[in-house]
Amino acid sequence: MRVLGIETSCDETGVAIYSEAEGLLAHQLYSQVKLHADYGGVVPELASRDHIRKTLPLIQAALKEANLSHTDLDGIAFTQGPGLVGALLAGSSIARSLAYAWKLPAVGVHHMEGHLLAPMLEDTKPEFPFLALLVSGGHTMMVAVKAIGEYEILGESIDDAAGEAFDKTAKLLGLDYPGGPLLAKIATQGTEGRFKFPRPMTDRPGLDFSFSGLKTFAANTIAKEGDDLQTQADIALAFEQAVVDTLAIKCKRALEQTKMKRLVIAGGVSANQRLREQLAVMMEKLNGKVFYPRTAFCTDNGAMIAYAGLARLKAGQTLDLAVKARPRWPINELPPL
């Protein structure tokens, strides 16, 4: 079975082809990051306008990359939610009608399920069950995964997502949007121990997160200490350490609570080097194993949508001709396979 996957939930247009037997056959991505940088954040209307322009050319490119014709495909999967409604509708409309024209079954994929299953695109795949930490610009979520579609949300951010906190703090430091990766870069020049940021919500039981206070803490520190280059780097380091520590503390707590040994980290923030290193050390101590997607599949992409869509199409889950975007769609409402 070969599935075309289409992702348009935010500011990346991703198209990929995944084959059950042959693995990933094509992976095309157009990132709108430069477009939105001038506005200091994603402008939903501009994102939608770009998706409509880019989706078909990327589908053409993916078929060419895989050296396949549409008759070699067995289904089309597209991101149905959660995400920006206009962006979702742009991709969904093209994907659904294309499946109609090609007489293929279509399936709507949950964007976060895509992220959660992204490590399955790698050679070393986690076995079920596992604990998943989903950390991106839009989401921060701890999920117990029994099997595909069997998700229990153990904790979530009550305010900013981790990636959002990265980007907002980067903005305070005068870094370009999206500043998260840039913040991590300048943090490598930071002085250990000059500043100590709080580890929010770690002093009480539970697995929820809160990151908006860190942004305020950073703003206050900048106001007090100035923002020369070294201070910027020191603040970046202290901020990054606080986020990583907080995520690690909650992961450890969730692993103990669920008695699970496998941890999956996915979403844009899972590309963060400090987070990867710290969790690797922690999991070794805990006698467990941590799994990540490759960096290209940490951020939004079509491959994870094709993979998740294939699993659901194989289980016979398909959509009718009505295109319905689901901008808000709790992951625990998904059906099992």
Binding site: R49, L56, G86, R96, S97, Y100, A101, A322, V323, K324
Partner: protein, 229 residues
């Protein structure tokens, strides 16, 4: 083989599909704000079945390219793109304003038409058309977005169509000797197939990957960071 055109429009509150063949025109028209994405493809399937045809029998896909609701226009363009790309068909872009002019001719025999769509935010999308002997429409005032108070039309006598003239009746109807259509308030795919058939014969088509919405309103709702304008 005779020309068969399938037209799709979701640019306004109306959602419509029409299929033109030599023998007949089959169409659907529903006013369903916020639900276009759910109904459009089922409507396509219905008209094809009613005409006893499949997508591969169609010569070209026409689409309402706007102006209108940004999201609505994209749903229409997106659905049309998927069909055209999938069935390897050319696409014919059609203006939602010109479609209403064609509607005024169909309903009233009007040959001088001003079309205006309520563009929200106190503005209208508008254009003025004069019908030629060939049946084509000459565009006297090109498509633009403006405050109704600022509108100046090239025609002092015309049939006027569209929601713009309904919302801003007091302001706009004072600008000439106008006959307001009570039939044509929204664009319809039924009129788009008529226009598209003409364009198709003249070779005015685009490939699916080149099909683009025409938003007309391009920069109002978002602002660049200081120094990046």
């Amino acid at each position: 083989m005779s020309t068969k055109i399938l037209a799709i429009d979701a640019a306004t509150e109306a959602c419509s599909v029409a299929l033109l063949t030599q023998e007949q025109t089959v169409s659907r028209f529903e006013v369903i704000p916020q639900q276009h994405s759910q109904r459009l493809l089922p409507m396509v399937d219905e008209v094809l079945q009613e005409a006893n045809m499949t997508l591969s029998d169609v010569s070209a896909i026409a689409f309402g390219r706007g102006p209108g609701s940004f999201t609505g226009v994209r749903i229409g363009v997106g659905i049309a793109q998927g069909l055209a790309f999938g069935a390897n068909l050319p696409m014919v872009p059609v203006s939602s304003l010109e479609a209403m002019a064609e509607g005024a001719y169909r309903e009233h025999g009007a040959e001088q038409v001003i079309a205006a769509i309520d563009a929200r935010m106190g503005e209208i999308y508008t254009a003025t058309y004069q019908r030629q002997d060939t049946g084509e429409w000459l565009c006297l005032d090109p498509e633009c977005v403006m405050k109704p108070e600022d509108a100046e039309f090239s025609l002092s006598e015309a049939t006027v169509v569209g929601t713009g003239f309904e919302t801003y009746q007091d302001i706009l109807m004072a600008k000439g000797q106008f006959m307001q259509s009570d039939r044509i308030l929204l664009p319809a795919a039924l009129d788009m197939v008529t226009l598209a058939a003409r364009y198709f014969v003249k070779g005015q088509t685009v490939r699916a990957e080149e099909a683009e919405p025409v938003y007309v309103r391009d920069t109002v709702t978002w602002k660049k960071l200081p120094g990046r304008e």
